[in-house]
């Protein structure tokens, strides 16, 4: 109705500015939940399970609504069904997703803090059995129910440390909507390449906000779909799922294509229970070495997003949503406040890009840590891995995203007044 009226009205007036009409369909308006869902679809998802929770379920509901996806196989247009299941709880959601992964399918679940807490034991199982699975972790204001419809970054350490025992896990956090899309594809690649769980962090403030993006930003024609050591063994033949012959990543044949055993107990190369100490040492090391491999193989520009002035004596470290505000204030800080900044948005927390980060931070006069939590969790990653401690902290935990004015002001106070810990509190 309104559109119709507007169109009619526009025909009645003479154009004033000779504006060219914006070509339709070149831009998309997308929220973080949808960006993740479409990224998963592009990345070849076959199975998603979920238990409803804010702000994660919109992603799964989108997948449910679009579960028959278009394909082009051997040049022919077709479609394929994705299975989406609403489960009885998050333990079931993660269990089903891991099961689907064992059968060779790219599988995922999406949840938020309370649900993720229930998934801890299963993630440990997936790590121990070297099973790929993707958990899209929408981070809201915690602890407990916290601020369920607000945002925050206080679950970073929980995500990175989830599950009992030592096992490789890959943890990454997106900084904006375009990153969410590409990271959803990347997460599947990493899960299969390293045969281990991948936790993809997206803040509520990205999940439920919209960006208008050029379609080119969601172009995945160059993105690779890498399935790692997924093979289809000769069904007549049994194979050793955990063969120690080919380095830390051993060939994985889906259930249904050949016989194999999986157990959360320590196991031998065949997958059967083994308490043999020599085997234990070797199997443990095999698993852990995958993380070293990931650290070596994941490109630096995936691990860190670096912008601003590389010669600046001030560095800002951050992750996730403050990226946007930081990008927006760089120019004003330089031209009006005469503050030069180099910004490092950390995208990976496991493996943590310690060496790459150290190279950037080692000669900085100030390292200003910008985060949406109380304890500066990214800062403690940095101190733990780099023996460099951030000099200043700009923190906010009131559930609202950082805005440009308060962030610019805080950086001025950190640099100009040497204020060490600045707490932000804007927002309604």
């Amino acid at each position: 109705m309104n559109m119709l009226a507007a169109e009619k009205a526009s025909l009645l007036v003479k154009p004033v500015f000779n504006l060219k009409p914006i070509k339709k369909q070149e831009m998309v308006q997308i929220d973080g939940n949808t960006a993740a869902a479409i990224g998963k679809i592009a990345g070849g998802i076959g199975f998603q399970s979920y238990y409803p929770i804010t702000p994660a379920s919109d992603e799964s509901v989108y997948l449910e609504a679009n579960q028959i996806v278009d394909t082009v196989v051997d040049g022919a247009k077709s479609s394929r069904p994705v299975v989406v299941v609403q489960t009885e709880d998050e333990i079931s959601a993660i269990g089903m997703a891991i099961g689907a992964g064992l059968a060779g399918v790219r599988s995922a679940t999406a949840t938020s803090g309370p649900g993720f807490a229930l998934m801890a034991e299963a993630l440990s199982w997936a790590g121990q059995t070297e099973s790929p699975v993707v958990v899209t972790y929408y981070v809201r204001g915690s602890p407990s129910t916290g601020l369920p419809t607000r945002s925050g970054q206080s679950d970073l350490k929980f995500a990175a440390n989830v599950g009992h025992g030592e096992f490789p896990k890959i943890v990454l956090a997106s900084g904006d909507h375009a990153e969410v899309f590409h990271d959803a594809i990347l997460a599947f690649n990493l899960a299969e390449a390293y045969q281990t769980p991948v936790i993809h962090l997206i803040e509520k403030s990205i999940a439920n906000t919209y960006s208008t993006l050029d379609k080119a930003e969601l172009d995945y024609s160059k993105a690779k779909i890498e399935r790692g050591a997924l093979v289809r063994m000769d069904p007549g033949k049994d194979y050793n799922r955990y063969s120690l012959e080919n380095g830390p990543v051993s060939p994985r044949s889906p259930l249904g294509s050949s016989v194999a055993w999986y157990s959360g107990d320590e196991h031998s190369e065949s997958g059967h229970i083994s308490e043999n100490p020599t085997n234990r040492t070797a199997m443990y090391e095999k698993r852990m070495k995958k993380l070293d491999l990931a650290a070596k193989e994941i490109p630096q520009d995936e691990k860190l997003n670096v912008f601003g002035d590389s010669g600046a004596e001030n560095a800002v470290i951050t992750f996730g949503s403050p990226k946007g505000a930081l990008k927006d204030i760089l120019e004003d800080l330089l031209s009006e406040d005469k503050i030069k900044l180099q910004v490092v948005q950390v995208r990976f927390f496991s493996p943590f890009p310690a060496e790459e980060l150290a190279k950037i931070l080692q000669n900085k006069k100030r390292v200003i840590d910008v985060e949406n939590n109380y304890t500066a969790q990214l800062g403690s990653f940095v101190s733990e891995h780099l023996h460099i401690t951030p000099t200043h902290f700009i923190l906010k935990w009131n559930g609202r995203q950082m805005n440009t004015d308060e962030l610019r002001d805080a950086i001025k106070r950190a640099v100009g007044n040497d204020e060490k810990r600045i707490v932000l509190n804007s927002g309604m």
């Binding site: 679809i41 394909t71 082009v72 489960t87 689907a100 259930l255 294509s257 016989v259 999986y262 157990s263």
Partner: protein, 299 residues
């Protein structure tokens, strides 16, 4: 001849009822001629849950109480597989009871074999949810003051479409029941009475063999209208526990659509092109085309 037993060393106690179950199950697989690579045994944690290591088809030994979700994920993406869950009574009716009940709502085509020994065997004999109130098995410091759950009554009311009970030491009978459960299209539950000679000194072989008797063959729902009456009868039968304990098939209903069929209602290609079959990548590139989805988001 395919050997359905592995060479793994079995570490159950001597004369544990689980030996009867592994024999029945492997014989059932052999009788049905099931392709080893097309069957998966999924278990939780417990003495009973070690069984996948002893059966020569694919095995997934998961977490305490969680076999049903794992099994469901496997079956959902590859409906061509025969998926069997083996777990203990503590596993399926204690920590995992939410999954056991919820599975009834889906009626996915999986088979659940419940090793019912009245105790938590692996953790040295605490009471399981099936142990009756007032009983004090060997490891219990006092009498059990909890009432017991009845796996059959739960399965019937939760929506299971095949509900049966077997007895571990009657391997031939158990084998036949397992075969029918596997062939049933929908979720089936077999409650297998399983003596635990180490910790359950009450529900022993001798105790059971004085009491059990076999049900007749009249259990199947023959028309949809008959379902509730059949179920009521089965439910009443399931309460019979004391001097006489019935074993056999209590209920079968083939009129409830299986979960895969429900998926196929909105995804007609599901059975021919289920996720495990799909080609999602060619020459390193995604075969999925999202342009239609992006068009909808165009501004």
């Amino acid at each position: 001849m395919v050997n359905y037993r592995t060479a793994e060393y079995i570490d159950w106690c001597p004369s544990c009822g689980d030996f009867g179950i592994v024999s029945s199950e492997t014989m059932a697989l052999a009788d049905l001629g099931i392709d080893r690579s097309k069957a998966v045994v999924v278990s939780g944690i417990g003495c009973s849950s070690k069984i996948p290591h002893y059966i020569n088809v694919s095995g997934v030994h998961t977490m305490h109480g969680r076999a049903i979700p794992f099994a469901s994920g496997i079956k959902l993406v590859n409906p061509d597989l025969k998926v069997i869950v083996n777990s203990g009574d503590g596993d399926l009716l204690g920590i995992g009871v939410g999954h056991l009940v919820s599975a009834g709502r889906r009626n996915l085509d999986i088979t659940i074999l419940l090793h019912n020994n009245g105790v938590y065997g692996l953790t040295k004999g605490q009471a399981s949810p099936t142990l009756h109130r007032g009983l004090q098995t060997k490891s219990l410091p006092t009498k059990n003051i909890n009432d017991s759950l009845d796996p059959l009554a739960i399965a019937l009311t939760a929506g299971y479409t095949f509900v049966a009970r077997a007895y571990a030491y009657d391997a031939m009978f158990t084998k036949e029941i397992i075969k029918k459960a596997i062939m049933h299209k929908g979720t089936s539950l077999v409650d297998i009475l399983q003596p635990c000679p180490t910790y359950n000194n009450i529900n022993t072989k001798e105790w059971y063999e004085k009491r059990i008797y076999k049900l007749d063959e009249d259990y199947e729902v023959k028309a949809p209208e008959e379902a509730s009456e059949r179920m009521s009868k089965a439910l009443i039968k399931s309460f019979e526990w004391g001097d006489r304990i019935p074993i056999g098939i209590f209920y079968e209903n083939n009129f409830i659509p299986e979960y895969g069929q429900r998926i196929a209602e909105h995804s007609p290609a599901y059975f021919s092109d289920y996720p495990a079959k799909q080609v999602i990548e060619q020459n390193g590139k995604s075969t999925t085309d999202i342009s239609r989805l992006l068009e909808k988001l165009g501004v």
